[in-house]
């Protein structure tokens, strides 16, 4: 092998070796990373007055805080200390001895990601600049090398389209993630710096620059065509060896390609391909491929490899969706939002992936592994990687490929009316091209989306917005087989609700959802307090209880200071009585999230096939809030809501449509029984029994002998009824059993005689069925 790591070439600056995943191709072996010193300066032409140690990947803020010995950035109101860092320049500095280079060899600097804009100088000479954190930068240093070299990377201040207000609107002309400019669950903490790996690499004369395999499965699923594209360095003839192994490891394709171009292409066919399926529908089978550049003797000089999945994906109109619309004047049907994988229409259950960390350079592989594992265990099949936060790193998608988790990936636009300027559109095009090229090999990637809530009245973009026309065009040009959605929601799709009661219009979430008639629910949730010991760790002792404005509660509640979000303490107390401690706050509040979230998932499933998606807002959180809709408390601890989601997302379960959460003596309790089946197999006939546990007594509500239920189909059963006896306030339960199939059982905890009788009213003041259009 001609590949020679820099360490062997005499370079001493060596920290550790990594395998860099996915930028500049599926896998690039890279040389050791560089150790940097870091300093800030108030204008680009000044020198830092102080140099501190720095790490890449990382963020200048974390380096600075570490050097100063500050408390954790998420503690109390520490975040306020970081504000000044947005508006200064930061310079990374390192030095290295020039490696001995053989004839024709080149030395290249690789920066995996500059957050957000910066320039590279070697020995005082500016060699490159870059704006946009998703596009790696490769800089050929060779012609400027001295015996001893100083490399500097200067990072510009945070891009802002306006000085005030200090909120997300400042991000409306940048591809930098909007969430960090302040969000309802996120403080103002705007990362800067080298958020991906930085290293040097010696390039041999001959080598592979990029290699990619595209797999297109025929509509009848009986065959697939593979297309290999390889870009190589060096003139003259190339000999490339291409191998493909099926999911069982057997070599199914082996080819030797002889080309005289730096771009080589080859095609091959797979007969009866082993299909990739989301985990709840089959096996996420992955093929492996490798391409080697070989010399005349067949010895490999360089190689690239990767995996692919054989699967088709489309967004289609739901079953029955073409009916109706027969009277004049006619308008169109709703846009398609049902995922069809390998010809099978799916109900996609899942959640919104925000980010495991406010500083994306600090997200570890382990965090991805742990959280995606939790997502799979919960029964989720689809993750919406939300456009307000940065796109995940490559490892995330590799795991999703392996785990059979589907990904809806958004471009970095969220809740703003993004600019129409040539500069912004050029940056967006560069970043989108990088993202598309990086993600398109992944079978888990099932759809692109322009960004979050861009067509809503707080954003005011439209179908005609240049940024969205550009993204649609790029996706078509670079990745035509994958669906593109301009934003979410589109017509027919709805976001919300987010709290147990609607604080604007009134009404309880179960009722609100039951009277909605949308085609997908890609964002809904229910706020809950975090886990009490996290709150303990976050809050200075004097601020812990009760919640007060003017304390660290403000920023950590995840909502406007003073409002304490939608999920107020008052709401919890109105249903469940007084709350006197962080522990009680957790217990009672998380019960509401548990039953709220599960009720929404199950209702969305009952609306199948018209509804085809249920994704909670949200899965993870980038810092420790004190109350949030997230199912995981920062960093990765499941709240009770996670378990509610997991129960509701079982492929097959006994379910009840319950009109409301709180009941009183004398009311007719009237759950409707359902057998929900999202599995690709039918459910045998059986008997479902419903029991009520109230005031310490178990009462038979009724039972239902259901017939066999077809694959991927729900069945509605009888509506039972029982006049509730009077009794003291408290909780009660509805238990559903299916004989001999305990895994299908469901137990719902409900509220009896709430302290505030207004909670018995499930409807808001206005008619819920009149959806604003």
């Amino acid at each position: 092998m001609k590949y020679r790591p820099l360490a062997e070439a005499g370079v001493s600056v060596l920290m550790f070796r990594i395998r860099v995943r996915g930028f500049l191709g599926p896998r690039v072996p890279m040389t050791p990373l560089l150790a940097f010193a870091l300093g800030w300066h108030p204008s680009p032409d000044m020198e830092p007055t102080e140099w501190i140690p720095a790490t890449a990947p990382g963020a200048v803020q974390l380096d600075w805080a570490r050097a100063q010995g500050w408390p954790a950035w998420w503690y109390g109101d520490e975040w306020k200390r970081y504000r000044w860092m947005e508006d200064v320049w930061w310079t990374y500095r390192t030095s290295f001895a020039a490696p001995p280079l053989g004839p024709g060899e080149r030395l290249r600097l690789i920066l995996g990601g500059i957050d957000h804009a910066g320039e590279v100088r070697l020995n005082g000479v500016k060699l490159a600049e870059r704006t946009g954190s998703q596009t790696p930068l490769a800089v050929d240093l060779t012609d400027h090398l001295r015996e001893e070299n100083e490399l500097r990377i200067t990072i510009q201040p945070v891009p802002k389209s306006r000085a005030t207000p200090e909120n997300r609107t400042q991000a409306d002309a940048t591809t930098k993630a909007a969430v960090s400019y302040t969000w309802d669950f996120h403080p103002r903490l705007i990362p800067l710096g080298l958020w991906r790996e930085a290293g040097l690499e010696v390039l041999s004369v001959d080598g592979i620059e990029t290699a990619e395999v595209d797999c297109v499965v025929a509509p009848d699923l009986a065959s697939a065509s593979l297309a290999l594209v390889v870009r190589t360095r060096g003139a003259g003839a190339n000999r490339l060896r291409w191998r493909v192994a099926d999911p069982r490891g057997a070599t199914v394709i082996e080819r030797l390609l002889l080309t005289s171009s730096t771009e080589s292409q080859a095609e091959a066919a797979l007969v009866a391909p082993v299909l990739w399926w989301p985990h709840d529908q089959g096996e996420p089978a992955l093929y492996r491929w490798e391409v080697e550049l070989v010399d005349a003797a067949g010895v490999a000089l360089d190689r690239r490899g990767g995996r692919f999945g054989a699967r088709r994906v489309a967004l289609v109109i739901h079953e029955g969706g073409w009916a109706g619309a027969t009277r004049s004047p006619q308008t169109r049907n709703h846009p398609p939002i049902t995922l069809e994988v390998n010809g099978r229409r799916l109900f996609a259950k899942g959640t919104n992936w925000v980010s495991p960390h406010a500083f994306p350079g600090s997200i570890t592989d382990e965090a991805y592994r742990d959280q995606l594992g939790l997502a799979k265990i919960a029964g989720f099949s689809l993750l919406r990687t939300w456009g307000g936060a940065p796109a995940p790193r490559e490892f995330f998608f590799e795991l999703c490929d392996e785990l059979g988790l589907m990904v809806w990936q958004e471009f970095p636009l969220g809740c703003n009316c993004y600019a129409e300027t040539p500069a912004y559109l050029a940056e967006l095009e560069q970043e989108a091209r990088s993202l598309i090229a990086r993600l398109r090999p992944h079978p888990s990637m099932v759809m692109w989306c322009g960004g979050n809530e861009l067509f809503n009245n707080w954003s005011r973009m439209t179908d005609q917005a240049p940024a969205l026309r550009l993204l649609a065009s790029l996706c078509w040009q670079l990745d035509p087989a994958r669906p593109f959605l301009p934003t979410s929601p589109v017509d027919g799709v709805a976001h919300g609700p987010y709290s147990f009661r609607d604080h604007v219009g009134g009404g309880e979430i179960w009722s609100i959802f039951q009277s909605s008639a949308n085609t997908a629910y890609p964002e809904f949730g229910c706020t809950s307090p975090t886990i009490a010991d996290i709150a303990h760790a976050v809050l200075p002792e004097a601020e812990r209880w009760p919640p007060r404005t003017g304390t660290a509660w403000d920023a950590h509640t995840g909502f406007e200071p003073g409002s304490f979000g939608h999920q107020t303490l008052a709401t919890i107390e109105a249903y469940l009585g007084p709350v006197n401690s962080l522990a009680e706050f957790e217990t009672k509040g998380q019960l509401l999230q548990f039953e709220g979230v599960r009720g929404l998932y199950e209702e969305a499933r009952r609306q199948k096939p018209r509804a085809a998606m249920a994704l909670t807002w949200c899965f993870n959180e980038p810092w420790p809030t004190l109350a949030n809709c997230s199912l995981l408390a920062w960093p990765d601890r499941p709240k009770r809501g996670y378990h509610g989601a997991k129960l509701a997302c079982r492929p097959v379960l006994a379910s009840a449509r319950i009109r409301k959460f709180a009941w009183a003596g004398g009311e007719s309790f009237d759950p409707q029984l359902w057998l929900l089946n999202d599995a690709p197999q039918s459910v045998p006939a059986g008997r479902m029994t419903a029991m009520l546990v109230l005031h310490g007594e178990r009462t038979l509500l009724g039972s239902w002998d259901f017939p066999e239920v077809a694959a991927n189909t729900n069945l509605v059963g009888p509506t039972l009824a029982l006049a509730l006896p009077a009794g003291p306030p408290g909780l009660f339960e509805l238990e559903l059993f299916v004989e001999e199939r305990p895994a299908l059982a469901s137990t719902y905890t409900l509220c009896f005689a709430p302290p505030d009788p207004a909670m018995l009213d499930v409807r808001g003041p206005a008619a819920r069925r009149d959806q604003p259009k």
Copy 2:
């Protein structure tokens, strides 16, 4: 000048000289046309057994019918004779002597349009092939010339994706216009042949291939930037002289460009540009430009020129459209459909342009001029050139530029689920690229649209359809400043109704429209019988009256045989009494169209600003129907409906919202008064008076002293009421006058005591407000 027409070069085949507009650039001076012989053959490798004279532009069907002495193709059931012509090959043949060519000169064949696929052979050698009628073909003949040459162009049979059924679905994998495969107003007559000019041209060594000027007006309208792109032939240095004259003829830009490339670019700025406006909002001011290739002495060797308009156009959300949608779960706002020109939101009134002739090669410049003149006189500002028919020729757009008529141009897709095959997508891309390049210089062109009713349940395409993603991408890449709509209707937009009563759900059109709440009405109309003497000319004498199935009425009614469309004789008689002749049929039926169409236009205007467009279906018709929604009877005679449209499309008028058309004694007649203003000026305060003329008596209903009405704004006035006295069946009138402003007056003709009392019922059996979604 080095340009040398072929006639001077010794070519004898000469018919007449033309100026070819717009293909291969804004204006190409072309040599004389070729005279052809034409024959058909049952397979591509056979010879025709008979040769007849042929014309280009034209169609093989018309050549054949002329040679055989057949009656007019539109007479009786003549159309049935043409069926066999679809499935044979047709060859055009001509011969010519090679012109003497100077050093470096080339001889090129130009075919303006091959309908729909064919190949070119010179002296037995195949030189080119082409599928797609909108893309001109230029074939260099030079290297294959002999002293005497035989040129053959062989046309393939009609493309069909399936053998049966014989209807528009056969056109779902071709860019050929679907209408000719049979439509509800169109017989099966599928044109084939050379539908545009065919000629030879001698190319000098140096010359201009294409030249284009793009004008982008700044958002503040205070300046515009011009970009010139010129492609030239010949190596070496080029000297190009570029001149721009403002709408008054004054030279505002004059530049000499020296380039050494075959592609030259230049930019220039206009300060305070004279804006192009649609005719109802201002002057359609046009700049002129010319670029000349000059020699060292400044003598022009070649030139191109054209016009441009300085204007901005966008599709935006209507005023108030961002309100609402404040409750959870939220879906999106409707897509934008309000045209904004030069920063001014417009209510666009107009019609659907189908085609003036079933054989597009037969459409004359005069037909375009006459019909567009009628459109402007009617007060229309927007024409939707419907995707079911072929795009108009260049002259159409030149006239629209001059007349200040805006154009909504559709790609050639209509009412089908178009194919996803690589062959179809490649043909569509070629044709779309040609169309976009041809039309984008025109200021009249305000929007692109993917095609007609593609998202409705009879077509079943969606936002994810490859054909539409391709078109959106091409429009963005080639013409980013012009809006693109995937189809019509999109969400919020509605098509229909088309007849005086809804034959499916029941109800009368005024009432149906008054209870609709759409953002645009780009297709609505009211069927009426044609003008009686046209019916006389079309029908064999024995078939003229009464209408009977099994006669030529079937195809000419424009609806399924036997149904006689929606606008049945029975409906007319139910409102207006017995019909005993073609003349009475015309009179009574056209009254319904007159009042129907005008009522719909006015109601759409009353729904401003939420509604922003009202376009009747349809303006013209490609052949003489006996009943159709068209405002013009074939070829170009205004029906009464045209005059109803003209009254309703006055920029300013007195208008009444009248609940229904037919009334009876004892009912409360309760028109609501409106002052409609689409003009860019305010309307001074005044007094509107309403009079009822019933049973021969004029009764004052009431009057309204209205204040000044702002520009582009409507004002609603009082609702009057009068108990109608009993009386005999007949017609009555509501007259509205504005004192001292007679041009604003409106007189509505209404029906009293219809023969069928069921006509008094304006509502269908189902609740109209529940629009199917």
